[in-house]
C-alpha cells in the first residue's frame, strides 16, 4: 500500500509539500533556516541533474559549471548592470541551455562515457574563465550579489516580512520561497517524466538500440534532457547567488560537480524523492561531522563508500524496497 502511495506522483508531491512546510517546526534559529534553504536550492538542482542521470543514463561531471555560470550571470547582471533578478535568471538559463545544446548535441550521438568527459571539460573551462576574468567576476576572491527582487520588492535573508499576518524574518521567508521553488522544480520534472518525451527517454535508458529500432530519435531526446538539466542548474545557481549574497568560483568547481552527482547516486538514481534525500544527507553530513575534527574526511569517505556498497540502488529506493518487502511479508503472514 505504501508503495502504491509513493508511486502516485501527485501524492508524492503532496507528501513533499507537507514535509517541506512542517520542517520549520523543527528549526530553531536562522542558521537552520539558512541550511534548509540551501538544501532546497541544491535539491532542485539535483532533481534536474537526475533527469539526465536517471532517465537518459548519462552522467555529467560538470554540472557545477552550469550552476556557476547561472550564478555569475545573475550576479553580474543584477549587480553591475541593474537588471532585475527574474530576467537575469531567465536569460542566464537560456544562454546556459544553448551552451548545453551546442556541447551535448554532437556528443550524445555517441554511446559511452563521452558526455561525462565533455561536461568535465566544459565545467573546468567555465571555472577557469570565472577565475581569470577578475574585472567582471571578482576573480578568485569572489563578488557580492544583490538580494533577489521581483517588481521592486526585495527578498533578503536579512529583511523582515509579513505573510498573512505572520511576522517572518528574512531567513524564514527565504526558506518558504526556496521550498516553493523546489516543489515547482519537482512538479516540472514529474510532468516531463510522464510526458511522451519522458516515455521516450525511459526507453532510451532501457535499451537504446530497441528505442532506435522503434523510431525514437535517441540523440535528440538525450540532448533535450541534457539541456533541461543544465537550465535547472543555471536557474538554481542564480537563486543560490541571490540567497548567499556572495559567490566565489567554488560554485563552479569540479568538486561541487562531484558533490552534485554524488547526491544523485547516493539518494537513488531515477528517484526524484530519492535524490532530494541525497541532497539533504550530503549537505547535512559536513555539519554533523564537524564533531570528528581531524577524522572528518575519513568519516565522510567511509560513509559514502559503505552506503554505496551496501545500498547500490541509493538510499531511498533501498529503504522503499525494505519497507515493501516487510509489508508483503506481513500481508503474507496474515493470509
Amino acid at each position: 500500500m505504501l508503495n502504491q502511495f509513493m508511486q502516485s506522483r501527485l501524492r508524492g508531491l503532496i507528501v513533499l509539500a507537507v514535509i517541506l512546510y512542517t520542517i520549520p517546526a523543527f528549526l530553531s534559529n536562522p542558521f537552520h533556516y539558512d541550511l534548509a534553504t540551501q538544501m532546497a536550492i541544491i535539491a532542485a538542482t539535483v532533481v534536474g541533474l537526475n533527469l539526465l542521470v536517471g532517465f537518459a543514463g548519462q552522467i555529467s561531471l560538470g554540472h557545477a559549471g552550469f550552476f556557476g555560470l547561472g550564478a555569475y550571470f545573475t550576479g553580474i547582471m543584477t549587480g553591475n548592470y541593474g537588471w532585475s533578478a527574474i530576467p537575469a535568471l531567465v536569460v542566464g538559463g537560456i544562454l546556459v541551455g544553448i551552451l548545453a545544446w551546442v556541447v551535448g548535441r554532437p556528443i550524445l550521438r555517441l554511446k559511452g562515457h563521452y558526455l561525462s568527459m565533455a561536461t568535465l571539460a566544459v565545467g573546468f573551462i567555465i571555472a577557469i574563465v570565472i577565475n581569470n576574468e577578475s574585472q567582471i567576476t571578482g576573480g578568485p576572491d569572489g563578488m557580492p550579489v544583490p538580494p533577489f527582487d521581483v517588481f521592486g520588492w526585495e527578498l533578503s535573508p536579512f529583511g523582515s516580512y509579513s505573510l498573512f499576518g505572520i511576522e517572518l524574518n528574512g531567513s524564514q521567508a527565504w526558506y518558504l520561497f526556496a521550498a516553493a521553488v523546489l516543489l515547482v522544480a519537482v512538479w516540472l520534472a514529474q510532468n516531463l517524466i510522464d510526458s511522451p518525451i519522458g516515455r521516450a527517454l525511459r526507453s532510451v535508458h532501457g535499451s537504446e538500440v530497441a528505442a532506435r529500432v522503434v523510431g525514437v530519435n535517441t540523440a535528440r531526446y538525450k540532448s533535450l534532457v541534457f539541456v533541461i538539466s543544465a537550465i535547472y542548474a543555471s536557474v538554481m545557481g542564480g537563486l543560490y547567488a541571490h540567497f548567499q549574497g556572495f559567490i566565489t568560483p567554488a560554485v563552479a568547481s569540479f568538486d561541487f560537480s562531484i558533490v552534485l552527482i554524488t547526491m544523485v547516486v547516493l539518494g537513488g538514481m531515477g528517484s526524484t524523492m530519492g535524490v532530494i534525500l541525497g541532497a539533504v544527507v550530503l549537505k547535512l553530513l559536513p555539519q554533523v561531522l564537524t564533531h570528528f575534527q581531524e577524522m572528518e574526511a575519513v568519516m565522510f569517505g567511509l560513509i559514502l563508500m559503505l552506503t554505496m556498497i551496501f545500498m547500490p540502488k541509493g538510499l531511498l529506493p533501498t529503504l522503499q524496497m525494505a519497507v515493501s518487502k516487510r509489508l508483503k511479508k506481513r500481508a503474507g503472514g496474515q493470509a
Binding site: P140, D141, T290
Partner: protein, 386 residues
C-alpha cells in the same frame, strides 16, 4: 529527524554539563564565546593549521590565567576546508546558532569576504586573518584584520627594488586568491612608483613545473629583477625552476611564503632571494630596543614548545587577532557587540607579533608597510636586511 535528535542530545548534554559546572563552582559566569572558521585542511591548510593551533593554545593559556573579565574563554571553531561557501555557512552557524561574542578567523580572503555580508548584518565584531586589501578598504564597520595588506607587501618589495636601482621587473603570480590579488596590487603600486612590469606570467595552484613561464621572463628584454606573488607549494617550485634555469637576476618572493617550511622545500635554490616578512622569522636579529622583540620571542618559544613544530607568520596573525579581541573586550568591560567594536577601533599602540597596531575609524588594519622587514635567505636561513 537526525537533526532534532542531535539537538536534543546536545541540549541534554549541555544541561548535564551545566549542572556539573554549577555544582563545581556556583559563581562561574557564562564563558566568553570566541568563534572561528579556518581552513584547517585543504589547499590553504598551511594557513589554517597554525592559526587554529595558536588560538587553542592561547585560549587555554588565558583561561589558566583566570580568563577575561573574570570569565573563561570558549573557542568554537569549524574547518571551512578552504571553501568560501562552507566558510559562509560556518560563519552563519557561529553567529546564529552558537551566538558567539566575537569572530576571529577567515584564513583566506575568499572565506573572509563570503562571511562579511553576514557579519555586517548581524553586527558581530569580526577580526579576519586574511591578507587582501579589499577586506578593510573600504572600511567595513564590523570587520577588522591582522595581517598586513598585500598592497603593503607590494609597496615594501617595490621600494626595496627601487632602492637597489631596479625599474624594470618581471612578475610571476599564482592564479589563486592570494596571487591574483597580489598581482593586481603590484601592478597598481608599480605604476605609482614608476616601476615598469615588463613580463607578467601566471601559474595555477596545481602546476608542477613553471619552467615555461620563467623562460619567458628570462627572455624578456631589460628585465632587472623578478617577483613571485603566490603561496603554497607553487612558489617553492618556481624557486627551484628559477635556480635550474640558471637565472641570475635578483629574485623576490611575497610574504605568502614567509615560513621555515618554504626554506625546506626550496632548499639551496632559495639562496639570495628576498621577501617581506614579520620579524617572527628572525626574532634574535631584532635590536633589544625593538618593542616587538620580546613579544615575538615569547610567541615563538611558546608555540614551538607546545606543538613541536616550527612557528609560522600565519599563526602570528591568529595570535594578534585573539589578543586584539581580548584587549577590546577588556576595554569595553563587557561582550556587548557595539562596545567591543568601538574598543577595537580605538586600540592604539598594541605591539603584536605582526607589528604595532594603531586602529582608527578609517583604518581597521592598523599596520603600516614598515611593519614588514625585508629578509634575505643566506646560508639556508633568514637574514634581516636593513
Amino acid at each position: 529527524m537526525l537533526k532534532t535528535f542531535m539537538r536534543r542530545a546536545g541540549k541534554f548534554a549541555a544541561i548535564a554539563a551545566a549542572g556539573l559546572v554549577m555544582s563545581a563552582s556556583v559563581q562561574a559566569a557564562e564563558p566568553i564565546k570566541i568563534g572561528s572558521f579556518l581552513s584547517v585542511t585543504g589547499p590553504a591548510s598551511f594557513l589554517g593549521d597554525p592559526e587554529l593551533k595558536t588560538l587553542q593554545m592561547y585560549v587555554d593559556k588565558i583561561n589558566e590565567d583566570g580568563g577575561v573579565l573574570g570569565r573563561q574563554l570558549e573557542l568554537i571553531h569549524y574547518d571551512d576546508v578552504g571553501n568560501a561557501s562552507s566558510a559562509r555557512n560556518f560563519a552563519s552557524r557561529l553567529i546564529r546558532s552558537d551566538q558567539v561574542d566575537i569572530i576571529v578567523g577567515g584564513s583566506t580572503t575568499g572565506a573572509t569576504m563570503a562571511a562579511v555580508p553576514l557579519v555586517e548584518q548581524a553586527k558581530v565584531p569580526f577580526i579576519s586573518l586574511a591578507g587582501a586589501v579589499v577586506i578593510t578598504t573600504p572600511v567595513k564597520e564590523w570587520v577588522f584584520k591582522t595581517p598586513q595588506t598585500d598592497r603593503m607587501a607590494a609597496e615594501r618589495i617595490l621600494t626595496d627594488m627601487k632602492d637597489r636601482g631596479f625599474t624594470k621587473i618581471g612578475l610571476i603570480s599564482g592564479t589563486g586568491g592570494f596571487g591574483a590579488s597580489g598581482r593586481k596590487q603590484t601592478l597598481d603600486v608599480a605604476k605609482d612608483m614608476g616601476i615598469e612590469i615588463v613580463a607578467d606570467e601566471t601559474y595555477s595552484g596545481s602546476d608542477t613545473d613553471m619552467t615555461a613561464q620563467l623562460t619567458n621572463i628570462r627572455n624578456t628584454d631589460g628585465v632587472q629583477a623578478v617577483l613571485n606573488f603566490g603561496f603554497g607549494q607553487g612558489p617553492a617550485i618556481v624557486t627551484r625552476n628559477y635556480a635550474q634555469l640558471g637565472i641570475k637576476l635578483p629574485f623576490y618572493q611575497s610574504h605568502g611564503v614567509a615560513s621555515d617550511s618554504f626554506l625546506k622545500l626550496a632548499g639551496d635554490s632559495a639562496e639570495g632571494l628576498r621577501l617581506p616578512a614579520s620579524p617572527l622569522l628572525v626574532p634574535n636579529a631584532l635590536p633589544d630596543s625593538d618593542p616587538q622583540k620580546a613579544v615575538v620571542q615569547n610567541y615563538k618559544s611558546e608555540y614551538e614548545a607546545r606543538w613541536d613544530s616550527k612557528v609560522s607568520t600565519f599563526g602570528g596573525y591568529a595570535y594578534d587577532g585573539l589578543m586584539l579581541a581580548v584587549k577590546a573586550i577588556e576595554a569595553a568591560g563587557s561582550t556587548d557587540h557595539a562596545a567591543v567594536r568601538e574598543a577595537l577601533e580605538n586600540i592604539k599602540g598594541y605591539v603584536g607579533v605582526t607589528g604595532e597596531f594603531n586602529m582608527s575609524p578609517e583604518d581597521h588594519n592598523g599596520l603600516d608597510a614598515d611593519s614588514f622587514r625585508i629578509l634575505e635567505v643566506q646560508n639556508g636561513d633568514w637574514k634581516l636586511i636593513d
